[in-house]
Symmetry: none
Subunit: 236 residues, 4 copies
């Protein structure tokens, strides 16, 4: 993935009249942020992002009012890339399950783990731009799943969340390590999961499939309650 692959689509949405150096700085900041969020987590000092981008810290603030704004743009950028990938694979891969498989791995390659931030309390759930990007992405997954299901290769009890959430989780950087650490394993484990997705199904799944929005909502609901195990017993 190149710099423009991440920052490009979003940058294009910005207002036209902008000094050349300003838009160059904007891109450099987004790029540096994407790198550092993945390498060091969502809490990296903004000063370091500015430094890696080669700009002053105040310049970062000129473009992004706060850390959440920056996260938002990085996430939008990632989701945008993802949707584009889906479209391209869907258009070219004849086998439906193989398309799903390739898309899943492509997502991992796109470091979709960064998307975990989608669920972060740092993002405004109602942000229209974000919602739209998310729906677009979910639609892409949905389409892939429908086709695979219709082809008879996908077990029928699978929803979009059953794919996105595991991809997000399996590709997250392990805490304290760079993204690159998990990546080789991510593909391997993803493959195992995909095998579990194939028809005929080998088990009865507990729970039900969820969308990202579902997850986000349940997170909101639970956030202030005491932490309990699924059996309802308080933790510890």
């Amino acid at each position: 993935m190149t710099d423009t692959a991440v920052a490009g689509p979003v940058v294009q949405q910005r207002l036209p009249r902008q000094r050349a150096d300003a838009s160059r700085n904007y891109e450099r900041i987004v790029t540096a942020a994407a790198q550092l969020f993945l390498e060091r987590g969502a809490d990296v000092p903004l000063d370091e992002i500015a430094q890696r981008a080669g700009v002053g810290n105040a310049t970062l603030y000129r473009h992004f009012a706060n850390r959440n704004e920056l996260i938002r743009v990085v996430v939008l950028s990632l989701m945008s890339c993802l949707s584009a990938q889906a479209e391209q694979i869907g258009a070219t891969e004849p086998d439906a399950f193989e398309a799903l498989r390739r898309f899943a791995h492509a997502s991992a390659d796109l470091l979709i783990g960064g998307l975990c931030a989608v669920f972060s309390d740092r993002l405004d759930l109602a942000d229209p731009e974000l919602c739209e990007a998310r729906e677009q992405m979910e639609d892409a997954f949905e389409l892939m799943l429908r086709r695979a299901r219709e082809s008879g290769q996908l077990r029928p009890d699978i929803g979009v969340g059953d794919l996105i959430v595991p991809i997000v989780q399996l590709t997250r950087p392990l805490p304290g390590t760079a993204q690159a650490t998990v990546e080789p394993y991510a593909h391997r484990h993803l493959e195992l999961l995909l095998d579990g997705l194939r028809a005929p199904q080998r088990s009865v799944l507990p729970g039900s499939a969820a969308t990202l929005a579902d997850l986000r909502l349940s997170a909101h609901r639970l956030n202030d309650e005491p932490c309990t195990t699924p059996n309802g017993k308080p933790v510890h």
Copy 2:
């Protein structure tokens, strides 16, 4: 899971003559820490842990010289519980794959996601107590896998890391949310993964199985290098 289930085994290793109130506080701190680490990540203010434990901040420091000490004990406690579970399940469940399956879900119930801290740079890789607990845990998994493999129910190309890492990842709390948010989905996705583990295998896996130590080592190797994708292209 009760308090003693988490803190017990470690507490038992402490020196004998300890005032009742002190050991009560010790356990309360470990318990509060385990909760808050899961709910809010490894960076929760220690003051909040002390507050939730109902003790002064300095009391926490009397028991644990710093945050890493505390993490270490929490992790040891979790791993210890896990090994005990394995033993119990292995002794009672006749079907080998079902034993594996139950153990995997039990691990998720034990909030094993917290174990992600094993990989954290916060822990001393060489700490003997930690190594021992990790090996014990890996042995338990190894035994489960061997039996399932010998019973012909497990695909043969699976190593211990192929189980532990996905469990850790799938059960990690989504960033910014409480552990409880993922948990229902964790079991569901784990089940999918387990289906992928069953024989006959439905795909050829990329990469190779890894142990926790492997992961940790590769993390060390990569940490100072520039972050690259598996294809060798620099990220972004």
Copy 3:
């Protein structure tokens, strides 16, 4: 100087009925405190003093309400030793200047640098016990000086403060170092000073001689004022 040399005289002044272990602890604390104050400054953690004394920290507080109490006793102990030395030397040394000289060096040997605490704001200037000890010590010096002056060996423009203050200063441990570091030099420089004290005088001294009380008073007067140089210009 032995342990009892420091702690002894003061201990004898305490009330009679006391458990044997209590009075043993008292002495051990004073001894440990005297050591650590000299080695590490007046700010050593009291817990360390208790530890070196081999008692619990709370035991220290049973004997001394706070750090100042402890300093007070250590200082009293040192001054007491000093007065005893003066008496002994005065009684045995026939040459008056030599007596002064020996006393000065004996004072240095007694680590009189610790007396700097006399001036510390940590001590109650009006404390009667302290005043008495100070006067006693000053009397001893006074007597030495008078005899030396009468013998014609001492220049006439010298007061008691002209001896005590330089001794205190020259024997203070250099910051960040143990007392022992200066000690060899202290005797050497003291000797130089004593040479300066001999008659006939080689210069006209600025200012006037001071007593410890004078110093202490002027310290009080100045403490809250802005810091100025002797010329009245503000420092820096």
Copy 4:
């Protein structure tokens, strides 16, 4: 002494393009630090230094990474002033001993007592800038001494440490008091010492002259050993 007299030489060494307000703050911090270190010791809360300088605490940290950095600059500044004084006096005073005398008193006026920090474990003994400043200062003293010795006015058994150390000690602020408290006496006692330095010598000195580096080294050697009196008996 004016602000620039203290902070000037060091400030001049900083990188060229600096905002006016930043360099003003830098000087104010150094000035405030020099004052407070002398008034209250090397342990004054940095927040208070910041407050006296009229800046926020974080501003202090922008300029000095930690307390030792600050001490280092203050010390460098003092030593630099001192060397300049020596040069000026040496060039204008025809009488060699009088030059020495004037320099000694000028040193006291420069609050050289603050130099005690030279010995502090807070300073990096190997710091090249510091070493250079120290050597420069010692050279200045050395030159003064040689001239006085050659003129026949200085007793021959005197080394540079025999001047610097007593000056440092005699001008140190008494603990718990402002620098100003000792200052009047410092000049008086210094004069006595200088009288002791004059030829013909009136005594045989014990020990030998030392440089600052010697002192620092012996401090290092002794710091971890048990504290003993010069006679080899353990203290107390």
